[in-house]
Amino acid sequence: MIYILQVIILGLCLGLVYALMATGLTLIFGVMRIVNLAHPIFILCGAYVAYWLFVLYGLDPILAIPIAAIVCGVLGAIVYKLVFEKDAGSQKYSEMTVLLTFGTAMILDGTLSFFFKNTQRVTSPSYATDAFFIGDIFLPTAQLYSGLVSLSLIVALALFLKFSTLGVAIRATSLSRVNAELVGINVKFVCLFSFILGCALAGCAGSLVSFVFSFFPAKHFEWIAVLMSLVVLGGMGSILGAVTAAIVLSVLASLVGAFLAPSWSTMVFFLALFVILLIRPQGMFGKYLS
């Protein structure tokens, strides 16, 4: 029984990190209909920022979050202005963005490999190998901290979207670009802002990921598969959906890993993707896209 609880808690912490990784992706899709295959590469950029700040200046990766967010946000703004803005609103935009974002991911992947080589890296702050014990339950500090920080960032995002004028405008724009323009919302600005916000969230997730997983430039291929499955399962564009999917699947994956075999655990994400596409293609919280 304790063992099951143990596995669930570990899955939960990891799930919250996955949730943070997926929120930016689903936000960008929801507002702009961009299928951002470059999202995980932004996460990696955030991870490298945190890694080098730690190695060079000894800055704790959790404290490096704002810096990683700013770096990725600026990078996002540049990429958006260069690649995505001019075609926004064209009819096959989503389809176009699949190729555009894939190309962006390849370019950034190549750039990262050029500078940082294909070495596995992991940030190792003092708490990375520590653990708490609550009764017999074992809580690795790194996982616990990353889970809690992810949770607070997701809550902050949710509050922003619910209660700030710009947040409601972002939701309004994701419902309908035209209607948003009609009430006087500057849709171009909202799109740019959402893209930057999504990339900044990727940067935050990157800082946390840097001490939870080991990473190297081509790692993003592995992540995009998992993240897309979360986003599709939750319903494209639904943040609540992506977060729920991340937590549920991650807990399931760690249960499968513990009771079947660790190599089966990744399968959970893809099996869930198959099942949801068969029985409810719009996802748990999604609506059919017209």
Binding site: T165, V168, A169, R171, A172, L175, S176, V178, N179, A180, E181, L182, V183, G184, I185, N186, V187, K188
Partner: protein, 243 residues
């Protein structure tokens, strides 16, 4: 005449690469006037409204609002000038609640205290909405949605409202209510340009009637004259010759 606030000169417009839907249209709108555009399907009635609102960029001609040309501005910029467009499909944010919809209607208002006051004010005009504040706009009845649309439109105190088919999909009693609201709004000095499939109903609430066909204005007259004109009755209002 200096009470003309909107003037279309020679406006030509069409969709994407398609043919011209509007062909050199001239039209004026006076302060406080309700003007109803009628005509058969495909005459370009809705297109006029879209061209003014900036959803569709005119290919030629100009749209003067208080002597300032609107052609080339983005839809949200035109809206910020004081022209409010109410499209056929309602344009509510279905999964935002009523209070968020009203909040977004005042997006361009930087003084948030003022916005709060105006929302209070609007809620006294449409008391039903007060009970629905936390309900999703998409789950309300057609009549309630219609009220929310008017509520949203008057929050910014626009000078011009462009209304496309206010009666579409509404029960007859709700249609009456909608036109009552339109008349009341016009009494506060707002000019209203209306497109209505139910031409008889639209004209009877209007001051002037414009008949359009094939992308051009056929003629413009006092609304009552249009209603009583034999030829128009035959062509557009569905009266049989034998009667």
């Amino acid at each position: 005449m200096n009470d003309v606030i909107l003037k279309l000169n020679n406006v030509t417009a069409g969709y994407q690469n398609g043919p011209d839907i509007l062909k050199s249209v001239d039209l004026t709108l006076k302060k406080g006037e309700i003007k109803c555009i009628i005509g058969p399907n495909g005459a370009g009635k809705s297109t006029i409204l879209k061209a003014i609102a900036g959803i569709l960029r005119p290919r030629n001609g100009n749209v003067l609002f208080n002597d300032r040309d609107l052609v080339g501005l983005e839809a949200y910029e035109i809206m910020r000038q004081g022209i409010c467009f109410l499209p056929q499909d309602r344009a509510l944010f279905d999964t935002l609640n009523v209070s968020e919809n009203l909040w977004m209607a005042g997006y361009t208002l930087h003084d948030k205290k003022e916005l709060k006051l105006r929302i209070e004010e609007v809620l006294t005009v449409f008391p039903i909405l007060k009970k629905r504040l936390s309900q999703y706009a998409g789950t309300m009845s057609g009549g309630e949605q219609q009220q929310l649309i008017f509520a949203r439109a008057i929050i910014l105190k626009p000078q011009i409202m462009l209304i496309d088919e206010p009666s579409l999909g509404l029960a007859p009693s709700i249609v009456e209510q909608a036109f009552k609201h339109i008349e009341e709004i016009a009494l506060t000095g707002v000019s209203i340009l209306l497109v209505e499939q139910n031409a008889r109903r639209g004209l009877s609430s209007s001051h002037t009637g414009v008949v359009m066909d094939l992308g051009q204005v056929v003629f413009e007259k006092d609304a009552k004259e249009v209603l009583n004109d034999e030829r128009i009755q035959e062509l557009y209002l569905g009266k049989r010759k034998s009667k």
